[in-house]
Symmetry: D2
């Protein structure tokens, strides 16, 4: 089962500057061979369900290992059985319907 997800991790107890933790997650996700795209409030991730969720677990483990005692993440994730669809398909589909 393929999944398109959008992941946003917030480390707590480490001050206001969290970009190094987010960068560590980007590295984990890309080393997992997943298709990713960083945006201003999260990261799009596409791939096999088990691989995507295994990588997200490793993100939490990596951020804790960097010293963050608490993490609060949010994830949107979509699956469909009617047809295949990539992240690019989703964006193109919206853009071609705009004036």
């Amino acid at each position: 089962m393929n999944v398109i997800a959008d992941f946003c991790l917030v480390p707590m107890g480490v001050g206001v500057s969290v970009s190094k933790y987010v960068a560590a997650c980007e590295k984990v996700l890309s080393e997992a061979g997943l298709k990713t795209r960083l945006h201003a409030y999260g990261t799009n991730v596409e791939g096999d369900w088990d691989e995507v969720f295994a990588a997200i677990k490793r993100c939490h483990e990596a951020v804790h290992a960097m010293g963050a005692p608490r993490i609060s993440s949010t994830l949107r994730f979509g699956t469909r059985t009617d047809r295949e669809q990539t992240m690019e398909d989703k964006i193109r589909s919206v853009e071609t319907k705009q004036d």
Copy 2:
């Protein structure tokens, strides 16, 4: 690694009435032996990371098997290494700080 999560599944392409799909997820989560608590916009779930995420995958599989061609879910999920905390602890902690 323990996780406290909040899961909200939205089946698409099945009309506006989605409660039977949500009920099927509740059944999957409770049959997984996880601690759950339904609220008006999702379900709190607590347990071991792997068990929680395996159950969430089964929810998507079950809802697709019921005929929903597309699903868009959202999840909040928190982990901490500084101390153990249950869902009840989180609620009590807020309530004891209210006037």
Copy 3:
């Protein structure tokens, strides 16, 4: 336009213990006269759209005024035009479909 929402505020830069900030939000929401219900990963809120969103703004203002330099919140929010539905209706609708 009525809205049922689920609000979760995460103050950043204030350490791992955030319950006093969440308690302050609960107070803001209930003083706004909104129907609310705290759960382990957020708060259900129901009411008129403008009143709900004005109260959420006051939550951010209150938490900043308490000293949190940064806030990352998440909100689920649903509206419908086909019929009226309360938070209790949503829960009952799921529960009556469970075995």
Copy 4:
């Protein structure tokens, strides 16, 4: 108060193909003069709090007016008082910390 948000609207009761509704929201947001950036699972929006949330309300109104009887949206939104930060700042801040 400035806010950086990430908005994802899911129309329900209109079938599996929802891109025309998302495209209508893009139009509403850009006509509001807000800075936006579409990604594969939502749209980044940046601007003054009141303008951002007024535009999000108009998105719900527009999608209902197009015939969707029910909408379930999710929003991440962040504010900070310690310093100004744009969407581009957030992305650059992560990218400069990656290997």
